[in-house]
Structures are given as C-alpha cells and as structure tokens.
Symmetry: C3
Subunit: 337 residues, 3 copies
C-alpha cells in the first residue's frame, strides 16, 4: 500500500492535507475514484476537480481553502511523469488472467501472473515472461520470447522466432517480424529473397500503434534498449537501431541502416537503405536522409542538409522569390516566361 | 418500401420505364439482383448491363429502345452520391445480430438492433448505440461510448474511455486511443509521460483503414463532426481537428495541433507539433507545415509556402537549372566544380 | 523427397560431401534441424555452424576439412533466393488444417489442403483455392475469391467481392477493399461517394504488413501479376498498378493513377491523383510526383524532376548557400536581412 507521503517524496512535492491517504492510482478528473490522484493544470481544472471523486489533486497552481488534499509541485508534466513511473514500479501488478478463449499452443511457457486476453493465440514453443500481458486478438508465432512485464495491447502480431525484452509496451496493430522487402528481378521474373533472420528487441522499448518492424534477411533486425517508436513507423530488414533512439510517427528506415545511440528522428523522416546515422543526431520532421550523418549533427530538409544550412537556404529561396524579375534579368531569360 | 419514383425525386432524375419498381439497393452490374439499381458510365457499360439481373440502370448517356428501366441523370457521380446517402436514410437498417462468439463484458449496454461480429470483444462498462455495427475481431475497451448507427468494420481497436459519435464509419485496422508519444529523457533514462486523456470523436466521422488517433496526454484529442480521415493517417495526442476537415492518406499531425474548420490536407502532409492551421486552408500533397497557417490560405511545399509562391519558386529553380553555367559564373565558383 | 544433389543443380552449386542428403528445408544456423541447409556468409559463420544441427551449409567462402557437407556457390544472395524459390515449388505443401475455432460461412468453398488459422472468419460465398493458407484472426468478407497457394498471415482483412490471384503472399494487418476516400461537400454537408467497385489482384503478388488497397468507386482497383508492395503502402481507389511493379514502404498512390509495368517506386513516394506514371520508371525515395511521368524516366525530388536535373539543382543550391553574401548583393537586398 502506497501513501500520498510516499508518492510526494518520489516527485519532490508538498502535501497540503492528508498525507496518509492510500493511493490507488492516477487518472483524469472524470474517471477518478476515491483513492486516485487527479491533476489540475489551472484554476478552471481545480473547480472541476472539486466535484470529482478524486482523493487528491496534483497542481502547480496556488490555491487556498481547497476542499481536497493537494499535492503541490513545480513542473506538472515532470511530476506526473515521475509519479507514473514510480507507480509502475511500486504498485503490485494487476492479477494476470488467461482468458478461457485464449489458444495456447504446445510447449508454450507462461511465466507467473501472465495475462492473456480473449481470442489471443500463442503458438508452439513460445515463452512469455512473468507479469507480461498479451492483449486480446494478439497472435504470437512459434518460438517467440517475450520478456518480463512487457505489455502487448490488442491485435499485435509477432512472427516466429522474434525476441522481445522486458518491460516493453507494444500498442495495437503492431506487426513484428514480417518478411523484409527483398526481390531479385531476373529473366522477366521477380524472385523473392528469403527472409530468414529474426527481430531482436531490447528492454523498455515502446512501439506505437500499427508500426512495423521486419525480420532480417540473413542476419537480424535489432532494436536496442529504451528505444521509443511512434505509430505507423516502418523499420526494414537488417536495420540496427541503437539504444535510447526516439522515432516519431510515419518515419521509414530502409534496409540495413544503423541509427546511432540517442538519436531523435522527427515524424515522416525517411532514411535510405544502407545509410548510417550517427549518435545523438536530430533530424527534423520530414527530413529525407540519403547519405551518412555524423554524430551530433542536426539535419533537416530533403535532401537533408545541416539545419543551419537548411535555414540559410530557406531564407535565400524566399529572397529569390521576392526578386523574381531581377533573377530572370540576371539570367537573361525574362523573355522566355 | 422504396419505389424508383421515390429515388428519382431524391436525385432529380427522370425514369424511363417502370417507376413503381421496388428498389432493394444499388450495386455494380456484376453483383446486381432484381431490385437493384446499377449504373452505366457509357455505351459499353449499357451493353453489359443488358445481361445483368439489375432492375434499373442509372446513366447520363442517351439511349433508345433499352430493354431495362432507365433512371436518367445529368451528373453520374453526384446522382450516385445522393442516391447512396438517401438510401442510407430511407432503407430500414439490416437486422443486427450478435454473433455467438462475441465476448460481451460486464455492464455493457447494447442498444436496439446492434450487430456484433464474430470474435469481437466489448469490455466492461461500454455502451453501443442503436443500429451500430461492431465488426468481427473488433476490440472495444472499457467504458467506451459508441453512437447510434456507427459502423466499425473488422479489427478496429478502441482503447478505454474513448467516445465516438453517431453515424460514423470506421474501417478495418483503425486504432483509436493508443498512448501518445511523450517521453522525458533525464539522467540517462527515458521516462514515459502518462497519457491520461481521452479521444472524443463527433458525429458523421469517417476514418480510413489502419489510421491511428492517439489519446490526449492530460486533456483530450478531439475530432469534430463530419471530419473525414483517410487510410494510414496519424493524429497525435492533444490534437484538435475541427468540423468538416478532410485529411488524405498517410498524413501525420503531430501533438497539440489545431486544424481549423473546413480545411483540406492532401496526402502525406506533415504538420509539426503545436502548429495551428486555420479554417478553410488547403494544403497540397506532401506539404510540410512547420508554422501556423492563416485562414483560407492555399499552401504547398516543404517547408510550406503559399501555393503561388511555391509555384513561382518551382519556375525559378527550373530557370536556375537551365542556366547552370551562368549561375556558376555569377557566383564566380565555376572552377570549383 | 529432395536430395542435396537436386538442390545443387537448381542453384548451380557444388556439393562437397554427401550429395544424397535428404533436404527438409533451409533456415538460419540457430534454428536448423538435421535435414536443413543453413548458410555462412564468412569464416565466423562457418565456425558457428559447426556446432549447429544443420546437415549442410551453403557458402561462397573457401574452406578445407570442414566437418559438415558444404554446398559451394558464387553469389550467396542469388543462390539462397533461387534455392528458396525452388523449394517452394519442389516441396510438398504443408498439410492444411482448418482450426476448430475458424468460422466458415454458408456456401464457402475451401479447396484441397487449405489451412485456416485459429479464430479466422470466412464469410458467405467465398472461395479459397487449393493449398492456400488463411492465417489466424483473418477476416475474409463475402464472395471473395482467393487463388491457389496464396498465403495470408495473421489479421488480414479482405472486404466483400475482392479477387486475389494465385501464389500471393499477404502479410499481417493488410486491409484490402476498404472504401476509397471520396466525398462531395455540398450545402454545408459532406456526402460520401459510394465505393462500389472491387479490388482485383493478380498472381504472385506480395503485400507488406499493414498496407492498404482501397476498392474502386464505380470501376475496380487493379493490381497486376508479380507486383510487390512493401509495408504501410496506401493504394487508393481506381488505381491500376501494372505487372512487375515494385513499391517500397510508406508510399502513397492517390486515386485513379496508373503505374506502368516494371516501374520501381522508392519508399515514401507520393503520386497525386489521376497521374500516369510510365513503364520502367524509377522514382527515388520520398519523390513527390504531381504530373505524368514518361516511360523509362528516373525521377527524384519534390516536386519531382528528372534525377539528373534534381542532382544539378542540389549542387546549385549548395553553391548558393556557400555564396550567401554574394547572392544577397546580386539581388541588392542585403540590407533587408
């Protein structure tokens, strides 16, 4: 049982009211129950919380004579993040139930307290770690390994022989381990290159809804620890994504690329095949990367340039547009238009 | 029972033949049954329809001595659209059947005539409105509200606490309410920001296959009435899409953006986070929007410019390419190349 | 039963060791069983294979006194591709089992040796060809035709009346036949254009995970023989993709386009609606095609240009950035900045 005092210590907050409150969770005002901490971004929120069932409200707003216990912090987003992560560790995991309709294949090993949702299918020889959750309608192929505490939401598909680490979060519709896109056109036919590698995913990896990670061709596709992947991202065969990389939505990484440790790729970024992106690189949204990028660079544009150059280019192009007539004159082509 | 006369009035068409025909539906030539209206875009189609089972053919082509009843209109696409929408309103809804394999949780409220497909799962406390259809393999989370007449095709995933309005159409593989992409890197770790808001979707919203709409972080993600979203679109946490917006395929809208009423986003458009796009804006395919856009603007390009400027720029760049040598000379760098 | 000798002939390889080995399959070193051929890209791999169970190792590396039978080839990737395709033809198909939980509708015709996975649903009137495989949680709509030997992985959704050819490969999460994105705004309302066409897919087509192909509006969407489509690709209504086209991940083809025979579209390419892309065109990754493209062109950029022009432009823009001050002087706007 966790008390409010305990939570307050974790997030460096001050309790105004009952610090012995037993905390059962954190949630939004409308959904809060008696033991829940809710949050108020401003005075308007604080008014709404008054009539909620929440036992305590987290806020950075000054308030006097408030009818509920207050947990006062400086930075709301940081406080809620730390509180959320603390609760994940402190709270006992929900009791794992295997739904009566789940199909569990031969030689499947379920760890302690594993939850398996309705109509989920786990195929032969797979192993699911303690406290893991397999959502409804998930399909786990043969000889898959899923680590401890990893949570798969509904309709995740994991192809045969995939390995997923501990404490991962995998959202609905994700497909891991489908065949890479490899074909050899020859003599008027197009032959499929066999895709025989695996996908190896580290610990603490989050993967957004409907994202895809293909299996390797002959070697493996590798996703390092702490990698965070947003919705609808495509990671092709043989890619290596190093630890602590964050990849925003609709980004595509083509075959055999390496993305270095700590790199951030914005949304809709494209990385061409066999490209090596260094460590701690930042690529702005929609950047098209066709060549290797050195460590610590900030890049933008299509084709990508260093961000400072891309900004300079944007200004120069605006200048050229404003001076259309002059440009045409300089190039002595005005009469052509 | 609807007669052809009735349908003709709705679409401002002229019947040549039996206007008392009882209409059962509208469909393509190959699939038409006796009471169905089919369509012919040209004389070739009219030939094919002759040997079909359709009771009536909609056409804008002039024709004499035709063996079937004709429903003559001026604009085929408009006529078919109006006819389709009229039939949706006029025809009695198909009888809703709850498949024997559907898993319906505790305290779920199903309205009148609700259909639930095979292996669909509706979790605790959710409410489904009258005449709604939940397709096979759908997963509806806890405390979800789905409005009247809304149709979910197969394999839609709706996370807990989502609200969806009336008469919506949601295609296969859509994921609504997954966690937004929010993380705080600190001290070598990457902390997940809790995603505690909901997704609130208005009436008459259509969402294309495999599209994703994330739940809000602390507030809600909001999709207004009549919004139409194409396949594989990503809408991030805290986004507000106002009414009558249309968003084409593979477009991504990053966190906390607002898209104003009546705006059209072409395919593969990207909108960076916290950007406000005005009302009645038109963004061409593949536009990359990094800054706020005023009402009524037409924008294009990456980074986006007003369309007239983008066109001017394209012409100027073509001019520069054609005059490569002259440009190099002007900049006195010819020897460098 | 296939011997190693037989396989060696197919791929033009040399056996060093027991050419009468009965071959059961090909797989990676870790997963190989006694009758399997595995592969070694280099000396390090050859060491690892020594302690595997594989009966034979395919390699292009020179080796002496090796403890296992060797199948020596010149080009590993080509050899493995040819071997894989030969085995697909030579090996007897796995025995097709219809899982007890599969829901098979009225008047469904299953060919010989069809496999249907757990919780798959096949609706009324559909026909599945001999040796086809329908994965777990697939939904096959009404009156669908799926050809011989076609394999659908988990969670594929096929809408009513779709036709899919022989020997196709369709990965998890693919949606075929959802409504195209067609709406008519009129009088403050937005009317849905009925989508009444079908999707017609040829033989030997591969479709990547979570890709979407929409049904036609009044005519059909058509995918030719041997077309290869990568993950998360969007193909809109009424598109015609001719034979031997390859389309990389996250590419979007808008409504009513034609993509000519043998054309290659890189990843994240966008093609605007009603555009005709010729035969044997190559479009680089992220190209935005807004106008028709002639046969045999190589295009790149957004908006797209011939690749040679796009390269020239890139060089010129770099030159302009390097000579920022000179450009400003030439346009006499320096003081403005």
């Amino acid at each position: 049982m966790i008390t409010l005092k305990h939570v307050a210590q974790f997030i460096n907050g001050t309790v105004i009211g009952d610090e012995n409150l037993i905390v059962t969770g954190m949630t939004s005002c409308d959904l809060a129950k008696e033991g829940d901490i809710t949050f108020a971004m401003d005075g308007k929120d604080l008014e709404r919380v008054k009539s909620s069932k929440a036992g305590c409200v987290l806020t950075s707003t000054d308030v006097e004579n408030y009818p509920k216990t207050i947990l006062k912090v400086k930075d709301m987003k940081l406080a809620m993040t730390m509180m959320y992560n603390a609760m994940l560790e402190l709270m006992p995991p929900e009791k794992g139930v295997v739904h009566a309709t789940a199909v569990i294949g031969e030689n499947v090993k379920l760890g302690n307290n594993v939850a398996v949702g309705a109509y989920a299918v786990i195929d032969k020889g797979s192993e699911i770690g303690d406290d893991a959750k397999i959502g409804p309608h998930c399909y786990i192929g043969k000889n898959v390994r899923i680590g401890k505490g990893t949570r798969l939401f509904a309709k995740v598909t994991v192809y045969d022989n995939t390995v997923i680490g501990n404490r991962g979060v995998i959202h609905a519709g994700v497909v891991i381990g489908a065949d890479g896109f490899g074909f050899i056109p020859q003599g008027g036919k197009i032959y499929k290159v066999p895709q025989m590698g695996q996908v190896m995913i580290g610990d603490n990896v989050e993967i957004g809804a409907n994202a895809c990670i293909d299996r390797g061709t002959f070697a493996n596709t590798i996703i390092g620890d702490n990698v965070k992947i947003d919705n609808l991202v495509q990671i092709a065969h043989n890619v290596k994504v190093e630890r602590n990389v964050m990849i925003a939505a609709l980004t595509g990484i083509a075959g055999s690329c390496t993305i270095g440790e700590g790199t951030l790729l914005g949304g809709m970024v494209g990385v061409s095949d066999h490209v090596s992106v260094g460590k701690n690189v930042k690529a702005g949204a929609k950047t098209g990367i066709h060549n290797d990028v050195e460590d610590n660079k900030i890049v933008f544009g299509y084709p990508s340039r260093e961000a400072s150059e891309a900004r300079k280019l944007h200004g120069l192009l605006s200048l050229i547009i404003r001076n259309e007539r002059k440009v045409k004159k300089l190039l002595r082509e005005e009469s052509l238009e």
